[in-house]
């Protein structure tokens, strides 16, 4: 019986509800690498609230795994009203009905907003005349160069690719490197090299069918220029971070980088951070292809409005406000006022670059970026974008892998040539720059061309197939579903059914326990064991059954579960035939069979040594066991710095000092070494637990056995092999099985070493060289969101691990018997 007080509360709430609805807040998520961006958006939001009365809550989202977060939020029904995402986001989210088509949602207002942008830039947000997003900011490559060094060497800033190559050669001949930061090695940035010839990797033919342009010789010529700049020159890479500024400041041949090719935003703070070289450097636009048209846009962000938003109209007003001239100017100024994090923003709004806005750029506080503005004002009108096509994300992975393989091929080739002459890689690069060994270089470049041609020929049919089937699938499947989403969302789904079954089991169990006297008198015992059983039923059995069902379906989590379509064994046959599974199994097995035995062998020795009545035993144990309690992610973060691909990395520095290598090894940047780095980390971290188990085992071996061996004149080596190792056989067996099961589930270290939280395009190591089982499950489930396929892979892993567990159990039984 509800009390009077309760009724009053309900009435009060009902009376207040219109008021509460008015005070709703607009949720805005911003993908950003900087907390200062968040502060800026909050300030803009406060002004917006003053003008419109609409509150805006700004939530930051990290680069790297932002797409996963957006998809998860859409799947969970928790997306914001409006968000910032990457340039590809509008297409990806729009394809599964996660965001609105701005043209049909706001037919009266969109015209005015669209007219603020260059149609060439909007092309990538448009699918079949639907507009899914508008640009937020854009970024491009520029060149920073030391005018004094260039003058000393008689060089001019290059305006074409051939001039750029000549300048680089001249710098190298004098012992200077150049730095290539952002976009180095990135597949998504290839447009810079191929769009000058009008050739995006994927395009529509005149009939509207998707085509892959990879085998076009012009396309490959563009890619070859990229490969040349990325890999032929021993230039330090972007993971050097802020050290680059120190190298730009330096004039020390061997250390100095008088030329930097990087994203335009990153060095606006140079006047503040390295004031001693003010007046000695300048900025120039990215050179154009010798025989191509200028093409320049390469990165940026965009705004999207989410379908599940209940405040779409308010979101659109916020969008209009953000793109007003007043706010665009504020954004430029705010980015400049960030001390050592200041940067220059390229506004996509045309009016910002129009002559009518010249007075703004003439402001005194913009003096420090006037030069950058002048350079970019010429570049911005050349911006355009590549069309978005279904299936291109997966097809692009094939090209990414090829590019990584080419990188290793080129670096290996250069190393080999240098090795043959007995000189370092850097020495050979300098010789190349000075024009030496021209015929060998030509022969090498010929082999690169041939290999690239063969590589593209091999992957093009698969890519073409992906584009064709995905486009057809969208037209037939998603195209139909997305129109009926609200209706579909009301339908019951399999998960509900399984949940109902689980609830029925629980009720039946409860009823059984209560209704028979035999069980009723044990009610308290059942009560005691209820919690683990209910939790296991709900959170293990139910999901396991659902996963089994999902593995036979095709399902995108942004759509309601009722849209999961039964595909039989297709997921299993797909992962087996595509080779993904075989690759992952191979990599995982390699990882397991190397790390586990090495770890065990080292641990046996160390445990044996630690077991010899040491002074300060507490200290030794603390040192040797400490890796066991520390978070794997933090350890991996430390190792990612130790493995730095330059002489500034501690490991490289050590190896150089010892004379074991002549040039820094690109540990985490090459598919030859990435997985090995993960293994080193795994062995380092795994030692502690293994030693611990072995030490416990050693202490169970009667001391008399060791003494007897010593009396018989057995030295330490003999005591180790004849007493310790045989005595530890059960522990070794135990650790082997446990270690292999653990190795098959490796994930965190790979995720962190590959910098997946920080780098938007990062894969599980170069060439996906560490795409082992769990990363593959994560990738298919939470990056490409093929829930069915991911479940299929998970089940295959489950069966593998089950097999291992059974083996372990079998051994134990035999031991006990």
């Amino acid at each position: 019986m509800p009390s009077t007080r309760f009724r009053i509360w309900v009435l009060l709430l009902l009376a207040l509800s219109p008021v509460l609805a008015l005070g709703r807040t607009l949720h805005f998520w911003a993908v950003t690498g900087s907390v200062l961006d968040v502060k800026m958006y909050r300030q803009i939001a406060r002004d917006f609230t003053k003008q419109t009365g609409i509150d805006v809550e700004v939530t930051p989202l990290a680069w790297g795994n932002f797409a996963t977060k957006y998809f998860a939020a859409m799947a969970a029904g928790l997306p914001p009203d409006i968000g910032v995402t990457n340039l590809g986001g509008p297409f990806d989210y729009g394809s599964v009905g996660g965001i609105v088509d701005l043209r049909s949602e706001f037919p009266n207002e969109i015209g005015r907003l669209e007219s603020q942008f260059d149609p060439a830039v909007l092309k990538m947000f448009t699918i079949k005349n639907k507009l899914f997003g508008i640009p937020s900011d854009l970024s491009t490559l520029v060149m920073y160069y030391r005018t004094d060094t260039f003058q000393k060497l008689g060089l001019k800033p290059p305006q074409t690719w051939s001039e750029l190559n000549a300048v680089i050669g001249a710098l190298e001949a004098h012992g200077y490197r150049y730095y290539f930061g952002f976009t180095s090695g990135a597949q998504w940035a290839l447009g810079i090299y191929t769009m000058p010839f009008g050739l995006p990797g994927f395009a529509f033919d005149t009939g509207g069918a998707p085509v892959v342009n990879w085998v076009n010789p012009k396309y490959q010529a563009g890619v070859l220029e990229a490969l040349n700049l990325w890999h032929m020159h021993d230039s330090p890479g972007q993971d050097l971070g802020s050290r680059v500024q120190g190298m730009f400041r330096s004039d020390d041949p061997g250390t100095a980088v008088p030329l930097m090719l990087d994203i335009h935003t990153d060095y606006s703070q140079l006047p503040i951070s390295v004031p001693e070289i003010n007046g000695k450097w300048d900025v120039a636009p990215w050179p154009k292809a010798d025989d191509g048209r200028p093409y320049n846009v390469m990165g940026g962000t965009s705004y999207v409005i989410f379908r599940q938003s209940t405040m779409k109209r308010e979101a659109f007003r916020w969008l209009e406000y953000l793109n007003s001239l007043e706010v665009q100017r504020y954004i430029v100024l705010d980015h400049l006022n960030r001390a050592d994090e200041s940067s220059f923003t390229i506004s996509p709004v045309k009016a910002m670059w129009a002559p009518s806005n010249d007075s703004f750029w003439a402001r005194p506080e913009l003096k420090s970026v006037r030069r950058l503005h002048d350079v970019l004002a010429k570049v911005v009108p050349t911006f355009s974008s590549v069309p978005s096509i279904h299936g291109s994300t997966e097809a692009a992975r094939l090209e990414s892998d090829l590019l990584d393989q080419m990188g290793s091929f080129i670096r290996d080739g250069i190393d080999e040539m240098a090795h043959k002459r007995g000189i370092s890689r850097w020495q050979l690069v300098q010789d190349f720059g000075a024009g030496k060994f021209a015929s060998e270089r030509e022969a090498f470049e010929q082999s690169i061309r041939e290999r690239l041609r063969a590589g593209y020929a091999a992957i093009t049919p698969q890519a073409q197939d992906l584009l064709t089937t995905e486009t057809a699938r969208y037209d037939s499947h998603y195209g139909r579903i997305i129109g009926r989403l609200p209706e579909l969302e009301r339908q019951r789904n399999v998960l509900n059914v399984v949940e109902l079954i689980a609830a029925a089991i629980l009720l039946a169990a409860l009823a059984t326990v209560c209704s028979f006297r035999r069980t009723r008198k044990h009610l308290i015992s059942y009560g005691f064991v209820a919690a683990p059983l209910i939790l296991a039923l709900t959170f293990v059995f139910v999901p396991a059954v659902v996963a089994l069902y999902l593995s036979f379906t095709e399902y995108h989590p942004v759509l309601p579960l009722s849209t999961a379509s039964w595909v039989g064994l297709k997921n299993y046959s797909d992962v087996i035939h595509s080779g993904d599974l075989a690759q992952a199994l191979y990599k995982t097995t390699k990882y397991a069979v190397i790390t586990v035995p090495i770890g065990i062998f080292l641990s046996l020795i160390l445990a044996f040594l630690l077991n010899s009545n040491l002074r300060g035993e507490r200290f030794w144990r603390f040192v040797y066991f400490s890796p066991m309690v520390t978070s794997v992610v933090s350890i991996a973060l430390i190792f990612s710095q130790l493995f730095l691909d330059a002489k500034q990395g501690w490991l490289n520095a050590l190896l150089l000092k010892l004379g074991l290598i002549t040039d820094p090894v690109p540990f985490l940047k090459s598919d030859r070494t990435f997985l090995e780095c993960v293994m080193v980390l795994a062995i380092w971290q795994g030692l502690a637990f293994t030693i611990l188990v072995f030490l416990a085992g050693l202490q169970q071996i009667p001391a008399a056995l060791f003494e007897a061996a010593a009396v018989d004149g057995a030295g330490p080596v003999k005591r180790f092999w004849n007493v310790a190792v045989p005595g530890l056989r059960p522990q070794v067996l135990f650790i082997s099985v446990l270690g292999i099961i653990g190795a098959y589930q490796v994930f965190e270290t790979i995720y962190t070493l590959a910098n997946k939280s920080g780098d938007a395009g990062a894969r599980f190591g170069p060439n996906d060289s560490a795409l082992t089982m769990v990363p593959l499950i994560y990738h298919t489930g939470f990056e490409t969101f093929e829930m069915g396929k991911s479940s299929a892979i998970a089940y295959i892993l489950f069966i593998l691990i089950l097999g291992l567990t059974v083996v372990q159990f079998f051994f134990y039984r035999r031991k006990e018997a």
């Binding site: 802020s242 120190g246 015992s525 939790l535 996963a547 309690v629 520390t630 973060l637 003494e707 780098d759």
Partner: protein, 285 residues
């Protein structure tokens, strides 16, 4: 170690040599193990000038706490510490109550279906967590639990492994103690709280430490469940540092330090219990 008077000087010398060799090897390997920690500590107090220096230095010339204050000012890290602590404490508290409770019933009570239920529960240990990622995500979505801490706490409150450990331990408590409680007319709950729990301190220590560490360091679950940075646990924030503060190696290491140092200090203090607990995960005696 017993030494015979007859053993000659040579044997003494070889023994001494052996001892020295042991210390040398252990020191060298110890340095390799400690190196990443040293790198982290040193880098975390380097000022920007020393970070941007193209030449590396093994020591810090002008130590500064700027990376730490910067990190704290930027937010997230302290919040994440609190979040991690909250999740870990809730999970540990629940585990310390529910696992011994079930373990006690499985060890000392007799009721129909006991063995079948126990076996069924143990079977869940065979299913690796990775199999449950996708369906778990969908289940939590259905519950409305995404972007909350509930999926990180509730399913683990009474895990099969904890129940297994508890049953193994409580089985060894003599039945006579339980019976004496019954004779005194204690209720089952009173027997559990006043007889079983006080005798299970080593079990509670083991269970508590393992649960806490597992939760404090867990990554993949929070990675797919949590969306809002304000709710992130510490490992998520640490992994994010590379992207949030690119180039600021000192800030990144300060973040690593914050996640590692408390655990290391606790490890140093409670070394003996921890070592026993961790060994217990592996060894059936």
């Amino acid at each position: 170690m017993s030494r015979r008077a007859s053993s000659a000087n040579a044997a003494m010398r070889s023994h001494l040599l052996e001892r020295v060799a042991i210390y040398v090897v252990l020191t060298l390997v110890g340095l390799v193990i400690a190196l990443p920690f040293y790198y982290m500590a040193v880098t975390s107090v380097k000022p920007p000038q020393e970070i941007t220096d193209p030449n590396i230095s093994l020591i810090v010339h002008h130590p500064t706490l700027e990376p730490y204050t910067g990190l704290f000012d930027a937010g997230l890290v302290l919040q994440a510490c609190w979040n991690s602590l909250f999740v870990a404490v809730c999970l540990t508290a629940g585990t310390l109550l529910l696992c011994p409770l079930a373990g006690y019933a499985f060890a000392k009570h007799r009721f129909p279906g006991k063995d079948a239920l126990f076996l069924g529960l143990m079977a869940t240990m065979m299913i690796p967590g990775t199999v449950l990622l996708v369906p778990g995500f969908l289940l939590f979505r259905d519950f409305g639990w995404l972007d909350t801490w509930l999926p990180l706490i509730v399913p683990g409150l009474a895990g099969a492994f904890g129940v297994f450990l508890a049953r193994q331990f409580i089985e060894r408590i003599p039945d006579s103690l339980v019976d004496s409680g019954k004779v005194d007319g204690f209720s089952e709950l009173r027997i559990f709280f006043s007889i079983i729990m006080p005798l299970s301190k080593p079990l509670l220590a083991t269970l508590g430490i393992l649960t806490f560490l597992g939760s404090w360091n867990s990554f993949l679950g929070p990675l797919i469940i949590l969306l809002d940075e304000k709710k992130f646990t510490l490992p998520l924030v640490v992994a994010m540092l590379q992207g949030r503060f690119p180039g600021k190696e000192n800030w990144q290491m300060a973040g690593a330090m914050i996640s590692i140092l408390p655990v290391l200090i606790l490890f140093f203090i409670f070394q003996r219990q921890l070592v026993q607990s961790l060994a217990a995960t592996g060894l059936k005696e």
